[in-house]
Protein backbone atom coordinates (compact mmCIF):
# COMPACT_ATOMS: atom_id res chain seq x y z
CA UNK A 1 0.00 0.00 0.00
CA UNK A 2 1.12 3.52 -0.65
CA UNK A 3 1.07 4.25 3.04
CA UNK A 4 4.06 2.03 3.68
CA UNK A 5 6.25 4.80 2.32
CA UNK A 6 6.03 8.34 3.61
CA UNK A 7 3.67 10.45 1.52
CA UNK A 8 5.11 12.53 -1.24
CA UNK A 9 3.43 15.82 -1.91
CA UNK A 10 5.38 17.17 -4.85
CA UNK A 11 3.06 19.05 -7.22
CA UNK A 12 3.97 16.80 -10.13
CA UNK A 13 2.79 13.66 -8.32
CA UNK A 14 -0.32 15.43 -7.16
CA UNK A 15 -1.21 16.36 -10.70
CA UNK A 16 -0.60 12.82 -11.83
CA UNK A 17 -2.90 11.57 -9.11
CA UNK A 18 -5.52 14.10 -10.08
CA UNK A 19 -5.23 13.13 -13.71
CA UNK A 20 -5.66 9.48 -12.82
CA UNK A 21 -8.67 10.42 -10.72
CA UNK A 22 -10.27 12.33 -13.58
CA UNK A 23 -9.46 9.77 -16.26
CA UNK A 24 -11.81 7.21 -14.75
CA UNK A 25 -15.39 7.94 -15.90
CA UNK A 26 -16.82 6.18 -12.84
CA UNK A 27 -14.88 8.41 -10.51
CA UNK A 28 -15.96 11.53 -12.34
CA UNK A 29 -19.59 10.40 -12.20
CA UNK A 30 -19.21 9.65 -8.48
CA UNK A 31 -17.72 13.09 -7.82
CA UNK A 32 -20.44 14.87 -9.78
CA UNK A 33 -23.17 12.90 -8.01
CA UNK A 34 -21.62 13.63 -4.61
CA UNK A 35 -21.30 17.36 -5.34
CA UNK A 36 -24.91 17.43 -6.59
CA UNK A 37 -26.09 15.62 -3.49
CA UNK A 38 -24.33 18.03 -1.16
CA UNK A 39 -25.67 20.98 -3.13
CA UNK A 40 -29.23 19.62 -2.97
CA UNK A 41 -28.91 19.06 0.77
CA UNK A 42 -27.54 22.56 1.37
CA UNK A 43 -30.09 24.27 -0.85
CA UNK A 44 -33.09 22.18 0.26
CA UNK A 45 -35.15 25.07 1.70
CA UNK A 46 -34.58 27.07 -1.50
CA UNK A 47 -35.25 24.45 -4.16
CA UNK A 48 -38.11 22.57 -2.48
CA UNK A 49 -41.20 23.42 -0.49
CA UNK A 50 -42.42 22.13 2.85
CA UNK A 51 -41.95 18.33 3.03
CA UNK A 52 -44.64 18.00 5.69
CA UNK A 53 -47.37 20.11 4.08
CA UNK A 54 -50.42 17.91 3.43
CA UNK A 55 -53.06 18.50 0.83
CA UNK A 56 -55.55 15.64 0.70
CA UNK A 57 -57.23 17.05 -2.41
CA UNK A 58 -53.97 16.51 -4.29
CA UNK A 59 -53.17 12.98 -3.14
CA UNK A 60 -51.28 10.49 -5.36
CA UNK A 61 -50.99 12.95 -8.24
CA UNK A 62 -48.47 11.99 -10.96
CA UNK A 63 -45.44 14.19 -11.65
CA UNK A 64 -46.34 17.60 -13.09
CA UNK A 65 -44.89 21.07 -13.36
CA UNK A 66 -46.28 21.90 -9.95
CA UNK A 67 -45.11 18.67 -8.30
CA UNK A 68 -41.93 17.54 -10.06
CA UNK A 69 -42.08 14.02 -8.63
CA UNK A 70 -45.81 13.89 -7.95
CA UNK A 71 -47.49 13.67 -4.56
CA UNK A 72 -47.83 10.90 -1.96
CA UNK A 73 -50.88 9.41 -0.20
CA UNK A 74 -51.29 12.51 1.96
CA UNK A 75 -50.84 14.92 -0.91
CA UNK A 76 -47.33 15.87 0.17
CA UNK A 77 -44.85 16.91 -2.51
CA UNK A 78 -42.53 13.93 -3.17
CA UNK A 79 -39.77 16.18 -4.54
CA UNK A 80 -39.79 18.18 -1.29
CA UNK A 81 -39.68 15.00 0.80
CA UNK A 82 -36.82 13.51 -1.20
CA UNK A 83 -34.83 16.75 -1.21
CA UNK A 84 -35.23 17.28 2.52
CA UNK A 85 -34.49 13.58 3.07
CA UNK A 86 -31.06 14.11 1.53
CA UNK A 87 -30.14 16.27 4.53
CA UNK A 88 -31.09 13.48 6.90
CA UNK A 89 -29.31 10.72 4.94
CA UNK A 90 -26.18 12.77 4.44
CA UNK A 91 -26.10 13.64 8.12
CA UNK A 92 -26.54 9.98 9.04
CA UNK A 93 -23.80 8.87 6.64
CA UNK A 94 -21.26 11.45 7.73
CA UNK A 95 -21.99 11.27 11.48
CA UNK A 96 -21.98 7.49 11.60
CA UNK A 97 -18.78 7.21 9.57
CA UNK A 98 -17.17 9.95 11.67
CA UNK A 99 -17.99 8.20 14.94
CA UNK A 100 -16.90 4.81 13.59
CA UNK A 101 -13.69 6.24 12.17
CA UNK A 102 -12.66 7.98 15.39
CA UNK A 103 -13.73 5.17 17.70
CA UNK A 104 -12.36 2.31 15.60
CA UNK A 105 -9.30 4.30 14.60
CA UNK A 106 -8.37 5.07 18.20
CA UNK A 107 -8.85 1.49 19.33
CA UNK A 108 -6.87 0.17 16.36
CA UNK A 109 -4.08 2.67 16.96
CA UNK A 110 -3.92 1.71 20.64
CA UNK A 111 -3.95 -2.01 19.82
CA UNK A 112 -1.27 -1.67 17.17
CA UNK A 113 1.04 0.60 19.14
CA UNK A 114 0.76 -1.09 22.53
CA UNK A 115 0.50 -4.70 21.31
CA UNK A 116 0.39 -7.53 23.84
CA UNK A 117 -2.67 -7.89 26.02
CA UNK A 118 -4.31 -4.64 24.87
CA UNK A 119 -4.03 -5.80 21.27
CA UNK A 120 -5.40 -9.22 22.13
CA UNK A 121 -8.42 -7.82 24.00
CA UNK A 122 -9.16 -5.20 21.35
CA UNK A 123 -9.07 -7.75 18.54
CA UNK A 124 -11.29 -10.22 20.39
CA UNK A 125 -13.83 -7.42 20.90
CA UNK A 126 -13.82 -6.73 17.17
CA UNK A 127 -14.28 -10.49 16.58
CA UNK A 128 -17.44 -10.36 18.66
CA UNK A 129 -18.80 -7.39 16.76
CA UNK A 130 -18.04 -9.01 13.40
CA UNK A 131 -20.02 -12.09 14.42
CA UNK A 132 -23.00 -9.95 15.40
CA UNK A 133 -25.64 -9.83 12.70
CA UNK A 134 -25.38 -6.10 12.00
CA UNK A 135 -29.01 -5.28 11.40
CA UNK A 136 -30.21 -7.32 14.38
CA UNK A 137 -27.71 -5.61 16.69
CA UNK A 138 -28.81 -2.25 15.34
CA UNK A 139 -32.44 -3.29 15.80
CA UNK A 140 -31.77 -4.34 19.39
CA UNK A 141 -30.06 -1.02 20.15
CA UNK A 142 -32.71 1.04 18.38
CA UNK A 143 -35.42 -1.04 20.10
CA UNK A 144 -33.78 -0.57 23.48
CA UNK A 145 -33.20 3.16 23.20
CA UNK A 146 -36.45 3.82 21.36
CA UNK A 147 -36.76 4.58 17.66
CA UNK A 148 -35.31 7.98 16.78
CA UNK A 149 -32.80 9.45 14.38
CA UNK A 150 -30.04 9.85 16.98
CA UNK A 151 -30.49 6.31 18.27
CA UNK A 152 -30.47 5.07 14.71
CA UNK A 153 -27.07 6.70 14.21
CA UNK A 154 -25.74 5.21 17.44
CA UNK A 155 -26.96 1.79 16.32
CA UNK A 156 -25.34 1.96 12.89
CA UNK A 157 -22.09 3.36 14.30
CA UNK A 158 -22.00 0.46 16.75
CA UNK A 159 -21.84 -2.01 13.87
CA UNK A 160 -19.42 -0.04 11.68
CA UNK A 161 -16.42 0.78 13.90
CA UNK A 162 -14.70 -2.66 14.07
CA UNK A 163 -13.62 -2.42 10.41
CA UNK A 164 -11.60 0.70 11.16
CA UNK A 165 -10.04 -0.84 14.23
CA UNK A 166 -8.81 -3.80 12.15
CA UNK A 167 -7.69 -1.65 9.26
CA UNK A 168 -5.64 0.84 11.24
CA UNK A 169 -4.14 -1.86 13.44
CA UNK A 170 -2.84 -3.67 10.37
CA UNK A 171 -1.44 -0.39 9.05
CA UNK A 172 0.22 0.44 12.35
CA UNK A 173 1.82 -2.99 12.58
CA UNK A 174 3.35 -2.69 9.12
CA UNK A 175 4.47 0.91 9.68
CA UNK A 176 5.82 0.49 13.19
CA UNK A 177 8.95 -1.34 12.14
CA UNK A 178 9.84 0.95 9.24
CA UNK A 179 13.04 2.97 9.32
CA UNK A 180 11.54 6.43 9.66
CA UNK A 181 9.60 5.41 12.76
CA UNK A 182 12.70 3.70 14.13
CA UNK A 183 14.63 6.89 13.49
CA UNK A 184 12.14 8.99 15.43
CA UNK A 185 12.36 6.49 18.27
CA UNK A 186 16.16 6.72 18.21
CA UNK A 187 15.84 10.49 18.40
CA UNK A 188 13.90 10.05 21.61
CA UNK A 189 10.31 10.54 20.43
CA UNK A 190 7.78 9.27 22.93
CA UNK A 191 5.44 6.47 21.95
CA UNK A 192 2.60 8.95 21.50
CA UNK A 193 4.66 11.23 19.38
CA UNK A 194 5.59 8.28 17.18
CA UNK A 195 1.96 7.24 16.92
CA UNK A 196 0.41 10.61 16.22
CA UNK A 197 3.16 12.27 14.28
CA UNK A 198 4.67 9.45 12.24
CA UNK A 199 2.38 6.43 12.12
CA UNK A 200 -1.12 7.92 11.97
CA UNK A 201 -0.58 10.31 9.03
CA UNK A 202 0.76 7.44 6.95
CA UNK A 203 -1.95 5.02 7.99
CA UNK A 204 -4.79 7.32 7.12
CA UNK A 205 -5.00 6.64 3.36
CA UNK A 206 -6.76 3.26 3.43
CA UNK A 207 -8.92 4.62 6.22
CA UNK A 208 -10.19 7.40 3.99
CA UNK A 209 -10.92 4.96 1.16
CA UNK A 210 -12.87 2.75 3.55
CA UNK A 211 -14.68 5.79 4.96
CA UNK A 212 -15.88 6.79 1.52
CA UNK A 213 -17.41 3.34 0.98
CA UNK A 214 -18.86 3.43 4.47
CA UNK A 215 -20.75 6.68 4.07
CA UNK A 216 -22.77 4.85 1.42
CA UNK A 217 -22.98 1.69 3.50
CA UNK A 218 -24.19 3.59 6.57
CA UNK A 219 -26.86 5.36 4.53
CA UNK A 220 -28.02 2.01 3.12
CA UNK A 221 -28.14 0.34 6.56
CA UNK A 222 -29.86 3.31 8.17
CA UNK A 223 -32.45 3.43 5.40
CA UNK A 224 -33.05 -0.31 5.91
CA UNK A 225 -33.65 0.26 9.61
CA UNK A 226 -35.88 3.21 8.77
CA UNK A 227 -37.80 0.97 6.38
CA UNK A 228 -38.70 -1.55 9.11
CA UNK A 229 -39.60 1.24 11.52
CA UNK A 230 -36.53 1.43 13.77
CA UNK A 231 -35.33 4.81 12.59
CA UNK A 232 -36.82 8.23 12.10
CA UNK A 233 -40.53 8.27 12.82
CA UNK A 234 -43.23 9.69 10.55
CA UNK A 235 -43.64 12.32 9.28
CA UNK A 236 -39.83 12.76 9.07
CA UNK A 237 -38.90 12.34 5.40
CA UNK A 238 -36.09 9.83 6.01
CA UNK A 239 -35.69 7.94 2.70
CA UNK A 240 -36.07 4.39 4.05
CA UNK A 241 -39.13 5.38 6.07
CA UNK A 242 -40.63 7.15 3.04
CA UNK A 243 -40.22 4.03 0.86
CA UNK A 244 -41.95 2.04 3.58
CA UNK A 245 -44.94 4.36 4.06
CA UNK A 246 -45.56 4.71 0.32
CA UNK A 247 -44.99 1.09 -0.69
CA UNK A 248 -48.65 0.07 -0.49
CA UNK A 249 -49.41 2.66 -3.18
CA UNK A 250 -46.80 1.31 -5.61
CA UNK A 251 -49.42 0.38 -8.22
CA UNK A 252 -51.37 3.67 -8.19
CA UNK A 253 -48.40 5.93 -7.53
CA UNK A 254 -45.07 4.25 -8.33
CA UNK A 255 -43.29 7.62 -8.18
CA UNK A 256 -43.96 8.05 -4.46
CA UNK A 257 -41.85 5.09 -3.34
CA UNK A 258 -39.50 4.93 -6.32
CA UNK A 259 -38.18 8.48 -5.94
CA UNK A 260 -36.73 8.00 -2.43
CA UNK A 261 -35.47 4.51 -3.39
CA UNK A 262 -33.66 5.87 -6.44
CA UNK A 263 -32.28 8.64 -4.25
CA UNK A 264 -30.80 6.01 -1.91
CA UNK A 265 -29.40 4.08 -4.88
CA UNK A 266 -27.75 7.15 -6.44
CA UNK A 267 -26.32 8.31 -3.12
CA UNK A 268 -24.81 4.93 -2.26
CA UNK A 269 -23.55 4.60 -5.83
CA UNK A 270 -21.92 8.04 -5.62
CA UNK A 271 -19.96 7.20 -2.48
CA UNK A 272 -18.98 3.76 -3.80
CA UNK A 273 -17.66 5.26 -7.03
CA UNK A 274 -15.82 7.89 -5.05
CA UNK A 275 -14.29 5.19 -2.88
CA UNK A 276 -13.21 3.24 -5.97
CA UNK A 277 -11.61 6.37 -7.39
CA UNK A 278 -9.84 7.28 -4.17
CA UNK A 279 -8.46 3.77 -3.90
CA UNK A 280 -7.19 3.95 -7.47
CA UNK A 281 -5.35 7.16 -6.76
CA UNK A 282 -4.18 6.60 -3.21
CA UNK A 283 -3.57 2.87 -3.10
CA UNK A 284 -1.46 1.69 -6.04
CA UNK A 285 -1.69 -1.96 -5.06
CA UNK A 286 -5.46 -1.97 -5.23
CA UNK A 287 -5.39 -0.20 -8.58
CA UNK A 288 -4.08 -3.12 -10.58
CA UNK A 289 -6.93 -5.28 -9.43
CA UNK A 290 -9.52 -2.63 -10.19
Amino acid sequence: MSATTPMTTSPRIKNKALRRFLRNPGTVLGSILTILLVAVALLAPVIAGDPLLQNLAERLKPPSAQHLLGTDQLGRDVWARVVHGSRISLRIGLTVTGIALVLGGLLGLLAGMLGGLVDEIAMRITDIFFAFPALILAMAIAGALGPSLVNLMIAVAAVSWPYYARLIRAQVLSLKSLDFVDASRALGASRWRQALRHVLPNAITPLLVQASFDVGGAILTAAGLGFIGFGAQPPTPEWGAVVSETRSFIIEAPWASSAPAVAILLTVLAFNLLGDGLRDVLDPRGRRRG
Binding site: A131, F132, I136, A140, G224, N272, R289
Partner: protein
Amino acid sequence: MLSFLLRRVGSLIFVVWGVGFATFFISQVVPTDPAAAALGNNARPAQIAAYREKRGLDKPAWQQYLLYMQSLAKGDLGKSLRTQRPILNDLKDFFPATFELTLGAMLFALLFGVPAGILAAVKQDRPVDLGVRTLALIGGATPVYWLAILALLLFHSKLGWLPGPGRLDAFLLAPQRVTGILTLDALLARDWEVLYDALRHLLLPAAVLGAFSTALVARMVRSAMLEVLSQDFVRTAKAKGLPEGKVVLKHALRNAALPVLTVLGSLLGGLLTGAVLTETIFSWPGLGSYATASATALDFPAVMGVTLVAGLAYSLINLLVDVLYAVFDPRIAYS
Protein backbone atom coordinates in the same frame (compact mmCIF):
# COMPACT_ATOMS: atom_id res chain seq x y z
CA MET B 1 -3.65 -28.51 12.28
CA LEU B 2 -5.15 -29.94 15.48
CA SER B 3 -3.88 -27.13 17.68
CA PHE B 4 -5.10 -24.65 15.09
CA LEU B 5 -8.54 -26.24 15.20
CA LEU B 6 -8.60 -26.24 19.00
CA ARG B 7 -7.60 -22.58 19.10
CA ARG B 8 -10.24 -21.68 16.55
CA VAL B 9 -12.97 -23.58 18.41
CA GLY B 10 -11.88 -21.83 21.61
CA SER B 11 -12.18 -18.42 20.00
CA LEU B 12 -15.53 -19.45 18.49
CA ILE B 13 -16.90 -20.21 21.96
CA PHE B 14 -15.54 -16.90 23.21
CA VAL B 15 -17.11 -14.98 20.34
CA VAL B 16 -20.52 -16.60 20.80
CA TRP B 17 -20.33 -15.89 24.53
CA GLY B 18 -19.40 -12.28 23.76
CA VAL B 19 -22.33 -11.88 21.39
CA GLY B 20 -24.68 -13.15 24.11
CA PHE B 21 -23.09 -10.95 26.75
CA ALA B 22 -23.34 -7.84 24.59
CA THR B 23 -27.02 -8.49 23.94
CA PHE B 24 -27.61 -9.04 27.65
CA PHE B 25 -25.83 -5.77 28.35
CA ILE B 26 -28.09 -3.94 25.90
CA SER B 27 -31.17 -5.53 27.48
CA GLN B 28 -30.08 -4.16 30.84
CA VAL B 29 -29.82 -0.55 29.69
CA VAL B 30 -33.29 -0.57 28.14
CA PRO B 31 -35.17 2.37 29.61
CA THR B 32 -38.48 0.57 28.99
CA ASP B 33 -39.67 -2.08 31.41
CA PRO B 34 -39.93 -5.41 29.53
CA ALA B 35 -42.59 -6.61 31.97
CA ALA B 36 -44.79 -3.61 31.27
CA ALA B 37 -44.15 -4.06 27.55
CA ALA B 38 -45.16 -7.72 27.70
CA LEU B 39 -48.34 -7.15 29.72
CA GLY B 40 -49.60 -4.16 27.76
CA ASN B 41 -51.01 -0.79 28.74
CA ASN B 42 -53.82 -2.00 30.97
CA ALA B 43 -51.70 -4.04 33.37
CA ARG B 44 -51.96 -3.11 37.06
CA PRO B 45 -48.74 -2.42 39.01
CA ALA B 46 -49.30 -5.55 41.08
CA GLN B 47 -49.51 -7.66 37.93
CA ILE B 48 -46.32 -6.15 36.62
CA ALA B 49 -44.55 -6.79 39.91
CA ALA B 50 -45.74 -10.41 39.94
CA TYR B 51 -44.57 -10.90 36.36
CA ARG B 52 -41.19 -9.40 37.17
CA GLU B 53 -40.80 -11.74 40.11
CA LYS B 54 -41.87 -14.79 38.13
CA ARG B 55 -39.37 -14.04 35.37
CA GLY B 56 -36.58 -13.05 37.75
CA LEU B 57 -36.62 -9.52 36.34
CA ASP B 58 -36.61 -8.07 39.89
CA LYS B 59 -33.19 -9.51 40.68
CA PRO B 60 -29.96 -7.52 40.24
CA ALA B 61 -28.41 -7.69 36.78
CA TRP B 62 -25.53 -10.00 37.72
CA GLN B 63 -27.90 -12.53 39.27
CA GLN B 64 -30.08 -12.43 36.18
CA TYR B 65 -26.98 -13.04 34.11
CA LEU B 66 -25.86 -15.98 36.23
CA LEU B 67 -29.32 -17.51 36.01
CA TYR B 68 -29.31 -17.01 32.27
CA MET B 69 -25.89 -18.63 31.88
CA GLN B 70 -26.99 -21.53 34.10
CA SER B 71 -30.00 -22.32 31.96
CA LEU B 72 -27.95 -21.74 28.81
CA ALA B 73 -25.52 -24.42 29.97
CA LYS B 74 -28.49 -26.79 30.09
CA GLY B 75 -29.41 -25.81 26.54
CA ASP B 76 -32.34 -23.70 27.70
CA LEU B 77 -32.56 -20.29 26.06
CA GLY B 78 -35.43 -19.16 28.27
CA LYS B 79 -38.98 -18.24 27.41
CA SER B 80 -40.02 -15.56 24.96
CA LEU B 81 -41.88 -12.66 26.54
CA ARG B 82 -43.91 -12.25 23.37
CA THR B 83 -44.85 -15.75 22.23
CA GLN B 84 -44.74 -17.26 25.74
CA ARG B 85 -43.00 -20.30 24.26
CA PRO B 86 -39.50 -21.67 24.91
CA ILE B 87 -37.18 -19.66 22.65
CA LEU B 88 -35.42 -22.80 21.47
CA ASN B 89 -38.72 -24.06 20.04
CA ASP B 90 -39.33 -20.72 18.35
CA LEU B 91 -35.86 -20.79 16.80
CA LYS B 92 -36.33 -24.39 15.64
CA ASP B 93 -39.49 -23.25 13.87
CA PHE B 94 -38.05 -20.13 12.27
CA PHE B 95 -34.44 -21.10 11.50
CA PRO B 96 -35.04 -23.57 8.63
CA ALA B 97 -36.92 -20.96 6.58
CA THR B 98 -34.00 -18.52 6.85
CA PHE B 99 -31.51 -21.30 6.15
CA GLU B 100 -33.39 -22.24 2.98
CA LEU B 101 -33.65 -18.62 1.85
CA THR B 102 -29.99 -17.82 2.58
CA LEU B 103 -28.77 -20.97 0.87
CA GLY B 104 -30.93 -20.17 -2.16
CA ALA B 105 -29.51 -16.64 -2.27
CA MET B 106 -25.95 -17.94 -1.96
CA LEU B 107 -26.52 -20.42 -4.81
CA PHE B 108 -27.98 -17.63 -6.92
CA ALA B 109 -24.99 -15.41 -6.17
CA LEU B 110 -22.48 -18.11 -7.12
CA LEU B 111 -24.43 -19.25 -10.18
CA PHE B 112 -24.48 -15.75 -11.66
CA GLY B 113 -21.61 -14.01 -9.92
CA VAL B 114 -18.84 -16.46 -10.78
CA PRO B 115 -19.45 -16.66 -14.57
CA ALA B 116 -19.99 -12.90 -14.72
CA GLY B 117 -16.71 -12.30 -12.90
CA ILE B 118 -14.80 -14.70 -15.17
CA LEU B 119 -16.29 -13.18 -18.30
CA ALA B 120 -15.47 -9.66 -17.14
CA ALA B 121 -11.86 -10.61 -16.35
CA VAL B 122 -11.26 -12.39 -19.66
CA LYS B 123 -12.78 -9.54 -21.63
CA GLN B 124 -11.19 -6.83 -19.49
CA ASP B 125 -12.17 -3.27 -20.50
CA ARG B 126 -14.47 -4.57 -23.28
CA PRO B 127 -18.21 -3.85 -23.30
CA VAL B 128 -18.97 -7.12 -21.44
CA ASP B 129 -16.61 -6.13 -18.64
CA LEU B 130 -18.11 -2.67 -18.50
CA GLY B 131 -21.62 -4.14 -18.36
CA VAL B 132 -20.76 -6.56 -15.55
CA ARG B 133 -19.02 -3.82 -13.57
CA THR B 134 -21.92 -1.42 -14.00
CA LEU B 135 -24.44 -4.06 -12.95
CA ALA B 136 -22.27 -4.97 -9.96
CA LEU B 137 -22.10 -1.33 -8.90
CA ILE B 138 -25.85 -0.90 -9.17
CA GLY B 139 -26.49 -4.23 -7.45
CA GLY B 140 -24.33 -3.14 -4.53
CA ALA B 141 -26.18 0.15 -4.11
CA THR B 142 -29.82 -0.92 -4.53
CA PRO B 143 -31.92 -1.08 -1.35
CA VAL B 144 -32.95 -4.74 -1.13
CA TYR B 145 -36.51 -3.94 0.01
CA TRP B 146 -37.15 -1.75 -3.02
CA LEU B 147 -35.81 -4.46 -5.31
CA ALA B 148 -38.16 -6.86 -3.55
CA ILE B 149 -41.15 -4.57 -4.10
CA LEU B 150 -40.28 -4.10 -7.77
CA ALA B 151 -39.70 -7.82 -8.32
CA LEU B 152 -43.06 -8.68 -6.74
CA LEU B 153 -44.77 -6.00 -8.78
CA LEU B 154 -43.28 -7.23 -12.05
CA PHE B 155 -43.15 -11.02 -11.74
CA HIS B 156 -46.17 -11.53 -9.52
CA SER B 157 -48.66 -8.68 -10.08
CA LYS B 158 -47.97 -7.71 -13.70
CA LEU B 159 -46.70 -10.88 -15.41
CA GLY B 160 -48.15 -13.45 -13.03
CA TRP B 161 -45.18 -15.76 -13.60
CA LEU B 162 -44.34 -16.30 -9.96
CA PRO B 163 -46.37 -16.60 -6.76
CA GLY B 164 -46.56 -13.80 -4.20
CA PRO B 165 -45.29 -13.71 -0.60
CA GLY B 166 -45.16 -16.78 1.60
CA ARG B 167 -43.53 -20.19 1.27
CA LEU B 168 -46.38 -22.25 -0.17
CA ASP B 169 -49.74 -21.76 -1.87
CA ALA B 170 -52.63 -21.70 0.59
CA PHE B 171 -54.40 -24.69 -0.92
CA LEU B 172 -51.38 -26.96 -0.72
CA LEU B 173 -50.70 -29.06 2.34
CA ALA B 174 -47.16 -28.74 3.70
CA PRO B 175 -45.31 -32.05 3.80
CA GLN B 176 -44.59 -33.72 7.09
CA ARG B 177 -41.97 -31.66 8.92
CA VAL B 178 -38.63 -33.44 9.01
CA THR B 179 -36.01 -30.70 8.59
CA GLY B 180 -38.30 -27.68 8.34
CA ILE B 181 -36.64 -26.89 5.01
CA LEU B 182 -39.72 -27.02 2.83
CA THR B 183 -38.06 -28.02 -0.44
CA LEU B 184 -36.09 -30.80 1.27
CA ASP B 185 -39.12 -32.06 3.19
CA ALA B 186 -41.14 -32.17 -0.03
CA LEU B 187 -38.32 -34.08 -1.68
CA LEU B 188 -38.19 -36.55 1.19
CA ALA B 189 -41.96 -37.02 1.02
CA ARG B 190 -41.73 -37.34 -2.79
CA ASP B 191 -44.44 -34.72 -3.03
CA TRP B 192 -43.50 -33.24 -6.40
CA GLU B 193 -46.37 -30.77 -6.53
CA VAL B 194 -45.35 -29.20 -3.23
CA LEU B 195 -41.67 -29.25 -4.21
CA TYR B 196 -42.45 -27.39 -7.44
CA ASP B 197 -44.58 -24.83 -5.63
CA ALA B 198 -42.03 -24.33 -2.83
CA LEU B 199 -39.27 -23.79 -5.39
CA ARG B 200 -41.41 -21.24 -7.24
CA HIS B 201 -42.03 -19.40 -3.96
CA LEU B 202 -38.34 -19.50 -3.11
CA LEU B 203 -37.09 -18.17 -6.44
CA LEU B 204 -38.01 -14.50 -6.10
CA PRO B 205 -36.92 -13.84 -2.49
CA ALA B 206 -33.69 -15.80 -3.02
CA ALA B 207 -32.88 -13.85 -6.19
CA VAL B 208 -33.67 -10.51 -4.52
CA LEU B 209 -31.63 -11.35 -1.43
CA GLY B 210 -28.83 -12.74 -3.58
CA ALA B 211 -28.57 -9.68 -5.85
CA PHE B 212 -26.25 -7.79 -3.51
CA SER B 213 -24.05 -10.86 -3.01
CA THR B 214 -24.01 -11.55 -6.75
CA ALA B 215 -22.52 -8.10 -7.24
CA LEU B 216 -19.94 -8.78 -4.55
CA VAL B 217 -19.01 -12.22 -5.92
CA ALA B 218 -18.69 -10.89 -9.48
CA ARG B 219 -16.33 -8.14 -8.33
CA MET B 220 -14.24 -10.54 -6.24
CA VAL B 221 -13.98 -13.19 -8.97
CA ARG B 222 -13.08 -10.55 -11.53
CA SER B 223 -10.25 -9.07 -9.50
CA ALA B 224 -8.94 -12.49 -8.41
CA MET B 225 -9.00 -13.71 -12.02
CA LEU B 226 -7.21 -10.60 -13.28
CA GLU B 227 -4.51 -11.21 -10.70
CA VAL B 228 -4.04 -14.83 -11.75
CA LEU B 229 -4.35 -14.24 -15.50
CA SER B 230 -1.34 -11.93 -15.44
CA GLN B 231 0.91 -14.57 -13.90
CA ASP B 232 3.66 -16.51 -15.64
CA PHE B 233 2.14 -19.97 -15.49
CA VAL B 234 -0.94 -18.77 -17.33
CA ARG B 235 1.23 -17.24 -20.02
CA THR B 236 3.17 -20.49 -20.25
CA ALA B 237 -0.03 -22.47 -20.60
CA LYS B 238 -1.18 -20.16 -23.38
CA ALA B 239 2.25 -20.31 -25.05
CA LYS B 240 2.06 -24.09 -25.06
CA GLY B 241 -0.94 -23.63 -27.32
CA LEU B 242 -3.65 -24.73 -24.89
CA PRO B 243 -7.07 -23.43 -25.87
CA GLU B 244 -8.08 -20.23 -24.10
CA GLY B 245 -11.12 -21.79 -22.43
CA LYS B 246 -9.04 -24.56 -20.92
CA VAL B 247 -6.46 -22.12 -19.58
CA VAL B 248 -9.11 -19.91 -18.04
CA LEU B 249 -11.22 -22.65 -16.50
CA LYS B 250 -8.51 -25.12 -15.52
CA HIS B 251 -5.44 -23.10 -14.69
CA ALA B 252 -6.71 -19.68 -13.73
CA LEU B 253 -10.06 -20.36 -12.07
CA ARG B 254 -8.62 -22.98 -9.76
CA ASN B 255 -6.14 -20.45 -8.41
CA ALA B 256 -8.64 -17.63 -8.28
CA ALA B 257 -11.09 -19.73 -6.27
CA LEU B 258 -9.15 -19.40 -3.02
CA PRO B 259 -9.39 -15.65 -2.49
CA VAL B 260 -13.07 -15.88 -3.37
CA LEU B 261 -13.56 -18.57 -0.74
CA THR B 262 -12.47 -16.16 1.98
CA VAL B 263 -15.30 -13.73 1.25
CA LEU B 264 -17.96 -16.43 1.52
CA GLY B 265 -17.88 -16.05 5.30
CA SER B 266 -18.52 -12.34 5.32
CA LEU B 267 -21.01 -12.86 2.49
CA LEU B 268 -23.11 -14.95 4.84
CA GLY B 269 -23.07 -12.15 7.41
CA GLY B 270 -24.42 -9.80 4.78
CA LEU B 271 -27.05 -12.33 3.73
CA LEU B 272 -28.33 -12.66 7.30
CA THR B 273 -28.69 -8.89 7.45
CA GLY B 274 -30.44 -8.77 4.10
CA ALA B 275 -32.69 -11.63 5.17
CA VAL B 276 -34.24 -9.41 7.85
CA LEU B 277 -35.46 -6.99 5.17
CA THR B 278 -36.30 -9.57 2.51
CA GLU B 279 -38.32 -11.68 4.93
CA THR B 280 -40.35 -8.66 5.95
CA ILE B 281 -41.52 -8.05 2.40
CA PHE B 282 -42.04 -11.66 1.37
CA SER B 283 -43.78 -12.60 4.64
CA TRP B 284 -41.12 -15.28 4.95
CA PRO B 285 -41.45 -16.91 8.39
CA GLY B 286 -37.73 -16.88 9.20
CA LEU B 287 -35.34 -15.62 11.86
CA GLY B 288 -35.40 -12.10 10.37
CA SER B 289 -39.15 -11.76 10.79
CA TYR B 290 -38.86 -13.28 14.27
CA ALA B 291 -36.06 -10.88 15.25
CA THR B 292 -37.95 -7.85 13.97
CA ALA B 293 -41.11 -8.80 15.84
CA SER B 294 -39.12 -9.58 19.00
CA ALA B 295 -37.11 -6.34 18.94
CA THR B 296 -40.29 -4.32 18.36
CA ALA B 297 -41.91 -5.98 21.39
CA LEU B 298 -38.72 -5.45 23.49
CA ASP B 299 -38.60 -9.23 23.88
CA PHE B 300 -34.90 -9.34 24.73
CA PRO B 301 -34.60 -13.01 25.67
CA ALA B 302 -35.81 -13.79 22.14
CA VAL B 303 -33.50 -11.22 20.50
CA MET B 304 -30.66 -12.76 22.48
CA GLY B 305 -31.58 -16.21 21.18
CA VAL B 306 -31.53 -14.98 17.58
CA THR B 307 -28.20 -13.20 17.94
CA LEU B 308 -26.67 -16.28 19.57
CA VAL B 309 -27.80 -18.51 16.72
CA ALA B 310 -26.72 -16.00 14.07
CA GLY B 311 -23.35 -15.45 15.77
CA LEU B 312 -22.83 -19.19 16.02
CA ALA B 313 -23.75 -19.72 12.36
CA TYR B 314 -21.42 -16.93 11.26
CA SER B 315 -18.52 -18.24 13.35
CA LEU B 316 -19.03 -21.82 12.18
CA ILE B 317 -19.04 -20.79 8.51
CA ASN B 318 -15.86 -18.80 9.00
CA LEU B 319 -14.22 -21.72 10.77
CA LEU B 320 -15.24 -23.96 7.88
CA VAL B 321 -13.80 -21.47 5.38
CA ASP B 322 -10.49 -21.39 7.27
CA VAL B 323 -10.27 -25.17 7.33
CA LEU B 324 -11.16 -25.45 3.63
CA TYR B 325 -8.52 -22.84 2.91
CA ALA B 326 -5.91 -24.97 4.62
CA VAL B 327 -7.09 -28.09 2.82
CA PHE B 328 -7.07 -26.51 -0.63
CA ASP B 329 -3.90 -24.48 -0.31
CA PRO B 330 -1.03 -26.71 0.74
CA ARG B 331 1.23 -23.66 1.13
CA ILE B 332 -0.66 -22.69 4.24
CA ALA B 333 0.38 -24.57 7.32
CA TYR B 334 -1.43 -23.75 10.51
CA SER B 335 0.74 -24.23 13.51
